[in-house]
């Protein structure tokens, strides 16, 4: 149960580029090791009458896999990302309009859902949509020896006994979204949550650094 | 297809035609009474039926209305029994959707759409029997149907498929030739001005031969246009006899 050997408990090299596409209102690509996701946001824009909600904006999330057409797995991930975004966006400020978030998987080398969440958050920020807080995704794997591995690669994911992805909010560092696979104990769960909360600090700091860098030339 | 010799040493093709010879074209206009215009056309063994409705008010989604000209709506379909193997989807697959698009594009160029702003012209074409040159036969049939409907056109649009074998262009390919791995080129022409309304080519061909092939296609189209012209004149004569003028 003890967490030792901190070598596994690290985040891979990560990077982000905002506003890289000309058409969407907001875009970002997020890279964790070799895993990479491209996100584009349109909105607030015109909404289809059938999807209109009178007191808030309609958010649609589309996840495009790299090969083939979206399947049930993507649908379930879309739900996770959408509801996480809905919790942090102030949708009531743009009633009767539509927001569309498209996530294109560029490469999957583990921790895909967390990378998608991070890309989504950066793209929403780039689009300037009002948000009550930021969020980030952290994936933890537990290997067969019970060791926790943060931000696992695809190979590590394959060998792990359990895999958990959490979305953590930036204000209180609580769990916005949780999606797990495999079996684990309560202790392991709580440890993973605690580790993710720690890791989230790093990611939020990274968000801040990249936004700061971006505005560095307009500070005057 | 090494076994098939598409062009014999004597210069004859599989079905005994010469290189530049067209297949026999037979056509009738005004085959349906209720449609605004209709035509049936046979070109060799390929048989097509074209029906035109309109110009009429916009139907379906009004958002497609163009305020300065008419919208042309084409649908191409193949009868389930038209090919050797039964066709599962008569229309709606990628190939036939593309064919519909090509027909639409051809007739947008030829029909004087600016005379009918905010309206719609429907052109439906069905292949009853397919033996090569489907696109060309459809265009030729549709031209007659449009003329039958009395819709003004800049000129006849005539189409023909040509192939290229042993440095020789072959006019009006049949199915055996098309599938025999010939470079084939489909061309829709407004013969009087020599304007190309659609140009489509598949398979490999050296750039230097392009001109010869286009030339051959244009000649073939002009040949088709003569036949169509005769059909139209004959039809008009019959009609005027019937109406007693």
């Amino acid at each position: 149960m003890e967490v030792c050997g901190s070598s596994n408990v690290s985040l891979r090299e990560f990077g982000c580029e905002q506003s890289l596409l000309s058409r969407p209102d907001g875009s970002a690509s997020f890279i964790q090791g070799d895993t990479s996701v491209l996100a584009g946001v349109y909105g607030p824009a015109e909404v289809k009458v059938s999807k209109e909600i009178y007191d808030r904006a309609t958010l649609e999330v589309l996840i495009q896999p790299k090969v083939g057409l979206p399947s049930v797995r993507e649908r379930s991930q879309e739900q996770c990302v959408r509801e996480t975004c809905e919790a942090s966006l102030l949708l009531s400020l743009h009633p009767r309009s539509s927001l569309t978030l498209i996530l294109q998987v560029l490469h999957d080398d583990g921790s895909l859902l967390s990378c998608a969440l991070n890309a989504a958050c950066m793209a929403l920020m780039d689009a300037g949509l009002p948000m009550s807080c930021l969020f980030c995704g952290v994936t933890c794997a537990i290997d067969t020896d019970g060791q926790i591995i943060t931000d696992p690669t695809a190979a590590q994911e394959k060998e792990s006994r359990a895999l958990m992805t959490f979305a953590i909010d930036s204000t209180e560092r609580r769990v916005l979204m949780s999606s797990t696979k495999g079996s684990f104990t309560v202790h392991e769960l709580q440890q993973c949550i605690a580790v993710s909360q720690k890791a989230s600090e790093k990611i939020f700091q990274f968000y801040r650094d990249s936004v700061r860098r971006r505005y560095s030339k307009t500070l005057e | 297809m090494a076994g098939l010799e598409l062009l014999s040493d004597q210069g004859y093709r599989l079905d005994g035609r010469k290189a530049t010879e067209l297949r026999k074209v037979q056509a009738r206009m005004g085959v349906f009474a209720q449609a605004d215009g209709s035509a049936y056309l046979e070109q060799g063994n390929t048989k097509a039926l074209a029906v035109v409705y309109g110009p009429h008010e916009m139907r379906g989604s009004r958002s497609r209305t163009l305020h300065d000209r008419a919208v042309i709506n084409c649908q191409y379909s193949m009868a389930t029994f038209s090919t050797a193997e039964r066709k599962r989807r008569p229309h709606g697959d990628r190939k036939s959707t593309e064919m519909s698009l090509h027909l639409k594009q051809t007739f947008e160029a030829a029909v004087m759409t600016q005379l009918y702003p905010r309206s719609q012209i429907d052109i439906y074409v069905k292949i009853l029997q397919s033996d090569g040159g489907n696109y060309s036969v459809c265009v030729n049939a549709a031209t007659l149907a449009v003329i039958d409907a009395g819709i003004p056109m800049r000129d006849y649009v005539c189409a023909c498929t040509v192939g290229f074998v042993d440095e020789t262009p072959l006019a009006d390919l049949c199915y055996a030739e098309e599938s025999g791995g010939v470079s084939s080129l489909a061309l829709a022409l407004l013969p009087r001005g020599g304007q190309i309304a659609l140009l489509q080519m598949d398979a490999r061909l050296h750039q230097d031969h392009l001109e010869t092939l286009i030339e051959a296609a244009m000649t073939a189209c002009k040949g088709v246009s003569k036949v169509l012209d005769e059909v139209v004149r004959q039809h008009l004569q019959e009609v005027s006899v019937l109406t007693g003028e």
């Binding site: 985040l11 891979r12 905002q18 506003s19 560029l106 | 190309i196």
Partner: protein, 432 residues
């Protein structure tokens, strides 16, 4: 979502500029925008930037049964996905005219031109062949999607490596990249599409139109060619009327452009090969332009693990332990059981209503209060029966409160909510 409409003044200005041989981004009439070719981490993943147009192609393979009429040939499948990311006008999963056009043109350009040796993809004749699938994703639409897609697709095909296979008897073994080096596809030639847009009834002609130019053009001519000056496909689209001379002129320009682009692809592939050989990283992290202020990268960093275990233990220990005993379910008839007498459903089971009642008569007053007090700690064996029990019927029509008198011996039979017999269950717990 609708695209932004085009204003009349934009149209007029663009046409006027084209007449003066000026283009929005300062290009000449026959110039391409800057083409950038990059590769992903995988084999067969290629990004093409054509100015601001951006597409990604990914090649994948799979063992499938061959088509009946071609038992010795592998299958090529192409799919261009007009992702809504590229333009607000694109919708997911809809077969638009544009999508049909692009898909067919790509098929014609790469499949019908027989640029790939499909016979080499046959594993067991008539049984197993490789299906090569090319997915092209449009990421940003700034005009001339076709050329970008064709460059991306052919480059990705050149870059792709399929796993090696061995056949022993009727057993087919697929080797992983570690076991045996994957094999590139055998490609005969590289067809590349070049698009020409026509303006003012064909008077003016531009190569590589951008999105705004596409919106004012009359029509488009796409010519696919390889560097041996062999035309692989020609397609005109839009209601234009071309003259033969124009077509010939376009084909000449195309041959020049194609040889330039082929060279560029060759260089890009070469560079990538070198980088991979040198063992350098060639993933996406390397592709982030460091000089841009919109981009930032952070090195691998450890996560602070100081008090994680303590925190987790703390939470687990502080939480209340789950109860050790739980109420037993009621089994009125074989095959039917019930637990949790909190609230009834409005349905009765078809055949078991009559027998059910007797089973549920073993009430017990005191425990209800106790269960409530002990909050989730104690689950009693049998469901309890309260004295002055208040029960709310769950009918949808009205939220009425029914006050039941002292429990009767027998509950009413077969009512919608099998009422009073099921009182508040002992499964009483409360959230703090």
């Amino acid at each position: 979502m609708k695209d932004t409409p085009l204003a009349n003044c934009e149209r007029d200005f663009l046409l006027k500029a084209i007449e003066e041989k000026k283009r929005l981004d300062g290009r000449q009439t026959y110039d391409y925008r800057k083409i950038k070719i990059t590769f992903g981490t995988d084999y067969g993943c290629c990004f093409v930037d054509l100015g601001r147009t951006r597409v990604m192609a990914q090649v994948s393979c799979e063992l499938v049964a061959p088509k009946e009429n071609r038992p010795n040939e592998g299958i090529m499948f192409f799919n261009i996905e007009l992702s809504p990311m590229a333009s607000p006008a694109f919708e997911q999963g809809r077969q638009s005219e544009l999508s049909v056009k692009l898909n067919r043109q790509l098929e014609r350009c790469l499949r019908n031109s027989k640029c790939i040796d499909t016979e080499s993809l046959c594993v067991v004749s008539g049984e197993k062949v490789w299906q090569i699938r090319v997915d092209v994703h449009m990421l940003n639409h700034d005009g001339n999607l076709m050329d970008a897609a064709s460059i991306a697709a052919i480059t990705a095909l050149c870059h792709f490596r399929r796993p090696d296979v061995a056949i022993q008897g009727d057993e087919v073994t697929v080797f992983s990249p570690e076991e045996r080096d994957p094999i590139p596809l055998s490609i005969y030639h590289m067809p590349i599409s070049v698009s020409f847009s026509f303006f003012q009834q064909g008077t003016y002609l531009l190569v590589d139109p951008c999105e705004r130019e596409e919106r004012v053009m009359d029509g488009l001519l796409m010519i696919a060619m390889n560097k041996h000056r062999e035309i692989c496909s020609i397609q005109s689209s839009g209601g234009i009327m071309l003259l033969k001379d124009q077509v010939m002129r376009c084909s000449k320009i195309a041959s020049v452009k194609v040889s330039e682009i082929t060279e560029l692809i060759g260089k890009a592939l070469e560079n990538d090969k070198k980088a991979r050989k040198a063992g350098g990283r060639c993933g996406f992290a390397e592709s982030i332009p460091q000089e841009r202020i919109t981009a930032l990268k952070m090195e691998e960093s450890p996560v602070e693990m100081m008090d994680v275990t303590e925190r987790a233990n703390d939470i687990v220990q502080k939480a209340e332990a789950p109860p050790q005993t739980v109420p037993s379910p009621v089994v009125p008839v074989p095959g039917v059981g019930q637990v949790g007498q909190g609230l009834q459903n409005t349905w009765g089971l078809e055949d078991d209503d009559e027998e059910e009642e007797e089973e549920e008569e073993n009430g017990n007053r005191g425990e209800e209060q106790e269960g409530k007090a002990s909050k989730m700690e104690k689950y009693e064996k049998e469901e309890s029966r309260g004295g002055d029990v208040v029960e709310i019927s769950d009918s949808e029509e009205e939220e009425v409160v029914i006050l039941h008198p002292e429990t009767s011996d027998k509950a009413p039979v077969n009512t919608g909510s099998r009422s009073s017999s099921h009182q508040k269950g002992a499964a009483k717990s409360k959230k703090k």
